[in-house]
């Protein structure tokens, strides 16, 4: 166990799985960097340096720079996954899903079902999401809801370095196509991460805070905001449970329901746009399956229904904040529901 950044945790997960299993390969735009160029190969390690050093260790038959054309290399990763390799493909920004969605949605995700269970597609697509670095409308989206909608895909959204390593190892070992979302603001986050390999199973939420008054469910980076909000609220006398679902597909519905049964109140924090999103998914699930446990209306803290604005002045308002979470929790605490009144 030692302190590692989110970036290092991912790098280590990749390295250890590649050491363990020779069929694990990486591909992506400049995941090595320098291919064909006169200077250093392994010059980049991806735009954020996440895969740095892996080319040097594993060579060009395991760490493949691609051309700049996502349909073909993401699709090739899917095709390779059905024919014996376990590719981890990097889709640099999740915003680029638009260029290659067919290969993800209609090919990789559907092979197994469409072919009557006869195909296996152990593909991982690592991709960067989220706002916060002033990267504007086409490099800042949070699109996990879109892929969660699609049956056949598993969707992972780690919230810290420990989670990142364990969930990525599980993603690589999993025999279904997995989309692994890395928040660009988290790469420098540090945390305790075991040196040895470990896998965190899918569909098992992590309860990061336990409380009596309100359940806060948060996704990815937002888990950290929710934890901070819960800690602050505790000092204000409101005790919150915080749930990190870890995977949005499969979703650990049981834990959501259990915790809401204990608290009776729900706030969902989701950095994505609000319509047809994980926020609506979780609220709808709880409202449908744990309605009687709810003391008052659930509340969502999300981005507005707008593209991500560039200007820092606007982007800061776009992203859910600890403050907004605290306000939402206080709001659900304050609401006197008819039901409570009737009781």
């Amino acid at each position: 166990m030692s302190k590692k950044s989110f970036r290092q945790a991912i790098n280590e997960a990749l390295r250890q799985e590649m050491e363990r299993d020779p069929t694990v390969i990486l591909m992506g735009e400049d995941i090595s960097g320098g291919t064909g160029a006169p200077g250093e190969q392994d010059a980049w390690g991806g735009p954020m340096g996440v895969t740095k050093g892996l080319f040097t260790q594993f060579g060009e038959s395991r760490v493949l720079d691609t051309h700049l054309a996502e349909i073909s290399f993401i699709g090739a990763a899917a095709g390779a996954a059905t024919t014996g390799l376990r590719p981890v493909a990097e889709l640099m920004f999740n915003d680029f899903l638009g260029t290659c969605l067919d290969q993800v949605m209609n090919q990789a995700a559907k092979f197994r079902y469409m072919f009557g269970g006869k195909a296996q597609t152990p593909l991982v697509i690592r991709t960067m999401y989220g706002a916060g670095v002033r990267a504007a409308a086409q490099h800042s989206q949070s699109l996990y809801s879109m892929v969660t909608h699609i049956p056949g895909l598993k969707v992972v959204v780690p919230s810290n370095p420990y989670e990142a390593k364990g969930l990525l190892i599980q993603s690589i070992r999993d025999n279904d196509p997995v989309i692994f979302f890395e928040h660009k603001v988290l790469y420098d986050m540090e945390g305790e991460v075991p040196d040895e390999p470990y896998a965190i199973p899918f569909g098992q939420a992590n309860v990061t805070r336990e409380g009596d008054d309100v359940t806060i469910v948060a996704i990815g980076r937002m888990v950290n905001f929710a934890n901070a909000a819960a800690d602050a609220l505790k000092r204000q006398g409101i005790s919150c449970t915080v749930v990190d679902p870890r995977t949005t597909s499969p979703l650990d519905v049981e834990t959501l329901i259990e915790t809401v049964e204990e608290t009776g109140r729900l706030v969902v924090v989701d950095e994505a746009n609000p319509r047809c999103s994980m926020a609506t998914d979780i609220i709808s699930t709880v409202a449908s399956r744990a309605f009687d446990a709810l003391k008052t209306a659930p509340l969502a803290v999300t981005a507005p229904h707008t593209p991500v604005p560039f200007s820092p002045a606007l982007e800061d308002l776009f992203i859910p904040s600890q403050m907004k979470i605290e306000e939402a929790v206080r709001a659900v605490m304050a609401r006197e529901s008819n039901r409570a009144a009737a009781e």
Partner: protein, 326 residues
């Protein structure tokens, strides 16, 4: 270069049997569809047999193909079980894909048949992926990507040309140019007019071939497959041929010239040409071929009967195979 005339008697009989099976299969489906027994969209391969069979003659199970919405021919040529295919097309539980796929999604990965595909051009990247597996896992295999003239303009295909070239993948692109994408002429839709030049623009050695002539297809494809297998990289085969039926079953085909198909059928039918050639050269005799015709007819009739008799999937099947079960 592989010469088709050096093929063994068994190989020639297999080639004819596969082509005849495809023809019989498609003609029968055309009839059954007319009778209303077949659900969904069906795109028939009749007329194009020499392409699938001519190419797949040089492949074994370790080699992979990606196919199209018009995939029955590729399936037969790559060794898929005809009865399993028929059951699939009828939506039955013991079809090749348990009835979940249907005509547009027949696959048999154990045979290297990576799937018919309802998305035009989508097979390009998939074939590249299979070729990458073959290359990195050193299986000695190659991948063939079949696609149509219309599909040849899809970004998925065009990007795949480039990826296969720069990664030096063992893949062969086989464009089946039947003159139309649905109702749109390939003479209009292919900018520049030449897929050989198109391939050249990506550094792919390319060649045009008469797709009604099994021997021509076989020889050209064999050379490209051999090239790929020996590590010399991708290439492109532009196959000119004709489809005998409409784009899908139900297409009135008013966009075609009157007599267009009849002319091909009488002058350039792939089965007739094959028969003529092998008899002329004394490689096989008429009796050999008649025997195959008869055998195949029986196979297809039996497949249809089996498909009709077999049972449908049940409610429990609806939810299985979305994910791998652990």
């Amino acid at each position: 270069m592989a010469s088709a005339l050096q093929l063994s008697r068994d190989d020639l009989l297999k080639a004819y049997r596969d082509m005849r099976t495809i023809r019989e299969f498609e003609d029968s489906i055309h009839d059954e569809f007319g009778l209303g027994g077949i659900p969904g969209f069906v795109h028939l391969y009749a007329g194009e047999e020499a392409c699938a069979v001519g190419v797949c003659m040089s492949l074994t199970d370790r080699d992979a193909i990606s196919s199209t919405h018009r995939g029955h021919g590729h399936c037969v040529a790559k060794g898929c079980d005809v009865e399993g295919m028929m059951k699939e097309i009828f939506g039955k539980r013991d079809g090749l894909c348990q009835g979940k796929g249907g005509s547009m999604h027949i696959a048999d990965l154990s045979k290297g048949m990576l799937g018919a595909n309802g998305i035009t051009g989508a097979g390009g990247p998939i074939a590249c992926g299979a070729a990458l597996s073959a290359k990195l896992l050193k299986t000695g295999g190659v991948a063939v990507c079949f696609y149509g003239d219309g599909s040849s303009n899809q970004g998925a295909i065009l990007e795949s040309y480039n990826l296969s070239k720069i990664w030096n993948l063992p893949v062969v692109f086989v464009v089946e140019d039947n003159g139309y994408a649905e109702a749109t002429a390939s003479s209009w839709s292919i900018g520049g007019g030449s897929l050989v030049k198109r391939g050249g623009g990506f550094g792919l050695p390319a060649e045009e071939v008469d797709g009604h002539d099994f021997f021509a297809v076989y020889e050209a494809a064999a050379a490209m497959i051999e090239r790929a297998r020996s590590g010399q990289g991708p290439s492109l085969l532009h196959v000119k041929l004709a489809r005998y039926y409409g784009h899908f079953e139900g297409d009135a085909q008013t966009y075609r010239a009157p007599g267009e198909v009849d002319k091909v059928k009488s002058e350039r039918d792939s089965l007739d040409l094959f028969r003529q050639r092998v008899i002329e050269t004394g490689l096989l005799n008429g009796g050999d071929l008649d025997a195959v015709d008869k055998e195949v007819e029986g196979t297809v009739v039996a497949a249809i009967a089996a498909a009709k008799a077999s049972s449908l999937p049940t409610e429990a099947d609806l939810l299985t195979n979305v994910y791998v079960s652990y």
